[in-house]
Symmetry: C2
Subunit: 371 residues, 2 copies
């Protein structure tokens, strides 16, 4: 960003919504010539106005790279059209599923040597070119999914694009990518939506008991239905097996709870039922422990110190300033707001072993450390 880009232009961006326009802005910041195209005249003009690139000119030569940032369900058709229209260009796309696009490009007779799919793991609650930003991809993984026929040069071109926009390229096969996002993104999305859906008919008194756990589990349930329908349908082959395995685990728990409920009245619960429940929770322990922590390292165990923070501008800053003065780095921060009180609880995670000192330092500075 701000450094000269290694990508050589002209780069043609087809589809100038959030992702396409952000790619354009990031490349423009590196001095690359970016040509914009979109079926919507309004969208492409907006993208130009926010600095994502220029409109095509009559004497433009063939682009060296085409970035297709169309909706997932039309991506393959656009990739095919661009491969045909630009017989020497490398073509990539940024759709969040990769096998379906690759299969369709192959079925459509596209030149697979020049096609390398990709998936930047970035987004925003907002959409469209006006939400675009040159820093959208900074620090995010950008999956580069070459196929067996992709030339090394084509793969390098897309890797360089990812690096130029500030992302971290991750080379993965399309199928491996799709299986991965099924596990780490698509199935969690479905689970969050299903849990949140149960709240539709909840008593308001029940919702008043909601804590940080429910908020965390359901946060992504606010996602866009149209976009997710298209993603899930396009990755049905990878999502299905994971979801069926989850459904089988769920059936086991439902059956165990039915046994436990009957037994509660008979005052004895079958050991097998309790074991099934404990096993499911323990399996969750094992799974969550595998999620990498900060900076791609292994998940770290943190000490957590919870502090009462008056709900006024500057108070949280003062707290973190006191941490900085004490020389203790914050690893994670969660804020919980107390119901009906003008106070929040800030859960400060610090490296294991530093919790005691942090607590001492903060208490000495007048902070109220809570449980």
């Amino acid at each position: 960003m701000g450094h000269p880009a290694a990508t050589r232009g002209p780069v043609r961006v087809v589809g100038t919504g959030l992702l396409g326009a952000s790619v354009g802005m990031a490349l423009r910041a590196g001095g690359v010539d970016v040509v914009l195209a979109d079926p919507s005249r309004t969208t492409v003009l907006l993208a130009r106005d926010v600095g994502a690139g220029r409109l095509p000119a009559p004497d433009d030569g063939e682009p060296l790279l085409v970035v297709v940032a169309a909706p997932p369900d039309v991506t393959a058709d656009v990739v095919l059209a661009e491969l045909a229209a630009n017989p020497h260009a490398v073509v990539t796309d940024v759709a969040s599923v990769k096998s379906a696009v690759l299969d369709a490009v192959r079925a459509g007779g596209g030149d697979l040597r020049r096609y390398v799919g990709s998936h930047p793991m970035a987004g925003s609650e907002r959409s469209g070119p006006t939400a675009a930003r040159p820093d959208l991809f900074v620090g995010r993984p950008w999956v580069v999914a070459g196929n067996r026929e992709s030339t090394p040069e084509a793969v390098l071109t897309v890797r360089t694009l990812a690096t130029d926009v500030g992302a971290t390229p991750v080379l993965l096969d399309a199928r491996v990518h799709d299986d991965a996002v099924a596990l780490v993104s698509h199935v969690p999305q479905i689970a969050a939506s299903l849990v949140a859906a149960r709240l539709r008919s909840a008593d308001p008194a029940a919702l008043d008991l909601a804590g940080q756990g429910l908020r965390d589990v359901t946060r992504i349930a606010a996602s866009d239905p149209a976009l997710w329908t298209s993603i899930l349908a396009a990755n049905a082959g990878a999502v299905g097996p994971v979801l069926r395995a989850l459904r089988d685990d769920l059936d086991t728990i439902v059956a165990a709870l039915e046994q436990a409920d009957e037994a509660a009245h008979a005052e004895q619960v079958a050991g097998g039922a309790l074991g099934a429940i404990a096993g499911a929770i323990a399996a969750g322990n094992a799974g969550v422990a595998r999620i990498p922590g900060k900076h791609g390292g292994a998940r770290r165990a943190y000490d957590v110190v919870t502090v009462l923070v008056p709900d006024q501008p500057g108070e949280l800053a003062r707290l973190l300033g006191d941490m900085g003065t004490a020389g203790i780095n914050l690893e994670e921060l969660a804020i919980e707001h107390a119901p009906a009180q003008a106070v929040g609880l800030a859960a400060l995670s610090v490296l294991r072993g530093l919790g005691g000192r942090l607590e001492h330092e903060l208490t000495a500075r007048g902070w109220r450390v809570a449980g």
Copy 2:
């Protein structure tokens, strides 16, 4: 806390782990005489040493209030024993399920006029009296679940206890409480555990793509299997119907994805399948929108501004300090760490309409605002 308590002692705390010892410490801070009991001599001596109260004395009179903070599966037996041993005392418990305890106390012939169940919505990753703190309950809901026979005086005694320890009392019937926690706590716990369990066999490359969504959905999957087995078994009657409804929704999605997968090869997806997926995601939108926001008010829509923060002590404090200087209050904060880079992304949520000004103020102060 620090103010004189309205609760009149002596208060007998039976079970001096995290919750019991914290109740004792909070009451002691208000000047209440607290007598401690626990089947483990070590545990009760530790509780005394951290300031949760004193050991029983030979000339002690009957306590006015007994707080049973035993494990969920033995709570009813302890409540029955305390009701019998202290024929004038009000007895409450702090187990996280209420109907099962009430039913067992009724079945055991306990004096229900003097029994009022309760459930403080507080806890900690740590357990035992050494993790106890007088502020554990500050700002948290404390459910007071009287039964039909509870006297108004008994209910008032438990309400006063909740207020004295800094919690917000919430009066709920035991069944309403159990249905509520099934929805907002127990079913989310199961969903988080099941999603996390799928990660056990994940390719490390897949886990490297994990973003904040997965981390949020699975955070509570790190919970204690033994405790949760006991909670879920004791609330099986309330959890079961919610879980079965969720399972039915899941079956619908599994079937829709199977249709979509077959259709992908036939290049046409049945409209019904897509509609089912979109409907599930939209139902999640509707459910999550009902979760109350900060300070018990309706969930607010926030503007989110994401800022790059160097990963050094004091940098986040400086950022929030700049927000404070600009007079803009932080509503929510999420920190995401970029893989393999010494930089974090701080997502600052502010009241809708303030995002533009915040972005302007931060940019003017040299911060890099990301997407």
